[in-house]
């Protein structure tokens, strides 16, 4: 059950109750009202954060608690903070009618095993050390996080997404409309969808990857893992693979209007002598990986560096 408190800055209550706690900050009459709240939390519980504008910075610590610090932006109505059972909620409330709202800065510490869900409109999101599931969404804010063993999903309209791998195999899904995405050394499965954003993936032990774009460019760098399944598709964006190390894979590439450039030797052939369409299928090395690339207009380039 949620109980909301309102208090003056001078008599700010701090309640700290295991398994049942609620705190809400004072109305932000003044600019930059500091936030300092903490509640006990399940080490594998879920933390939900909602902040329209400003920033959300999440780190982990060895305590079974969630701590929220930062400063409430001018015009914000207050902070809603509750921790019930395994769910901790942190929500910046904005008034129904407000002439101007400034961003709220939230700094959150939580148990590493927590799962995290963050929703913002323009607030940037940064998360580090989270090992549970992550659902990070923003309309125009940027998202930075690390990918661990659990599912990580990052979704924006125009915000840029940056994800760094930690060596653990999980599932990463990045969806943007126009935002760019940079993914580095993520093990496991990496899926991406964008309309006009540019996606650059530096492979870790990536066993499976499916990237799709309408006009954004798709770039893949690194070593193709044995048995990897890589599927890339773009309507008008270019697809570029800069591969490292020995390559053992079967390649299948086709483009309706784009050029296919292959540094491994075999050249693309026209699917029709007088009409558009090129394709190229070849095997390089002894491996069992499979790489499929399809475009309408985008150029395809596969090279080893």
């Amino acid at each position: 059950m949620t109980i909301r408190f309102y208090a003056t800055p001078a008599t700010k209550p701090t309640a700290w109750l295991p398994a049942l706690a609620l705190l809400v900050m004072v109305p932000a009459a003044d600019a930059g009202t500091p936030i300092n709240e903490r509640a006990a939390a399940d080490p594998t519980g879920k933390v939900e954060v909602s902040n329209t504008a400003g920033s959300v910075v999440v780190t982990t610590w060895p305590r079974n608690e969630v701590e929220v610090t930062g400063s409430l932006g001018t015009g914000a109505e207050g902070l809603e903070f509750s921790s019930v059972d395994k769910l901790t909620r942190v929500k910046v409330n904005l008034p129904e009618r407000s002439s101007r709202v400034e961003g709220t800065s939230l700094i959150i510490k939580l148990p590493a095993g927590s799962s995290l869900a963050v929703n913002t409109v323009s607030a940037d999101v940064s998360a580090k050390g989270v090992r549970g599931q992550q659902r990070l969404q923003s309309v125009s804010g940027d998202i930075h996080t690390e990918a661990a063993a659990e599912d990580v999903e990052c979704k924006t309209v125009s915000g840029h997404v940056t994800v760094a791998g930690t060596g653990q195999r999980g599932l990463l899904t990045v969806t943007t409309v126009s935002g760019d995405a940079t993914v580095t050394s993520v093990a496991g499965e990496v899926n991406g969808n964008t309309v006009s954003g540019n996606f650059t993936i530096t492979m870790g032990d990536t066993s499976r990857s499916r990237l799709r774009s309408t006009s954004g460019d798709l770039g893949l760098k690194g070593h193709v893992a044995q048995d990897a399944r890589l599927d890339f598709e773009s309507i008008s964006g270019d697809v570029r693979l800069d591969l490292q190390g020995p390559v053992g894979a079967e390649f299948e590439m086709s483009s309706f209007n784009g050029q296919i450039r292959n540094c491994f030797g075999p050249k693309a052939t026209r699917t029709s002598e007088y009409a558009p369409g090129s394709e190229l299928r070849f095997r390089e090395g002894q491996g069992t990986a499979r790489v499929r690339i399809k475009t309408l207009n985008g150029d395809i380039s596969v090279c080893n560096k």
Partner: protein
């Protein structure tokens, strides 16, 4: 005709009879022929096409998975027209010449667009412009692929790209629907007064 000449004539006839009627050309002539086959404007009769993987259209909030049933299209020109920028209006989704996507898909698309029309107004202006620009980009892409399919009907690459483009459009609509509603972010504030 003397017997010798009869024999000669008979042998010639026999030799002519043994000649093959069909001779295959040294190269494949079809691509050059196909490239010059002008499409016909087919308006007569009903033409139903069911792809091998036909299935019902699914729309789940946040889902990006659809498959297509292909139905007759009344007027290909209508489906190729892009709606005016800045408005979430959609013509029937074309799928190559003579076909459209299942009306269930179109209904879902229209419904989502209507639901989003109000929510999109709540987005900050920059984000709204980005979104509308990119939705227009998706529609432009589907129009381009449909135009290519007019020249190369049934092309597997084009059909796959087109289907995925429609999937992506629906996914974008669903994503924005999720981002702008039901999660508390930016929904409790009068967007006309919100400056971010």
């Amino acid at each position: 005709m003397t017997p010798g000449r009869l024999d000669s004539a008979q042998r010639l006839d026999d030799a002519l009879a043994r000649l093959p009627g069909s001779i295959e050309p040294a190269r494949d002539l079809w691509p050059a022929i196909e490239a010059q086959l002008e499409p016909r404007d087919v308006r007569a009769g009903r033409r139903w096409l069911w792809p091998a993987a036909a299935a019902a259209v699914l729309l789940v909030a946040g889902s990006s998975l659809i498959t297509a049933n292909l139905l007759r299209r009344e007027d290909s020109a209508v489906a190729r027209q892009l709606p005016a920028s800045g408005r979430l209006t959609y013509a029937a989704a074309a799928f190559g010449p003579g076909q459209t996507l299942d009306p269930t898909y179109d209904a879902a698309r229209q419904e989502l667009a209507r639901s989003l029309a109000a929510r999109i107004e709540r987005l900050p202006p920059d984000a709204r412009q980005q979104l509308e620009r990119n939705l227009a980009e998706l529609r432009r892409a589907s129009a381009e692929i449909n135009a290519a399919l007019e020249l190369r009907p049934g092309d597997a690459l084009l059909e796959e790209l087109l289907l995925n483009t429609y999937q992506d459009e629906l996914a974008v609509l669903a994503s924005v629907d999720q981002l702008t509603g039901g999660n508390g972010a930016g929904t409790t504030t009068d967007p006309t007064r919100m400056q971010l």
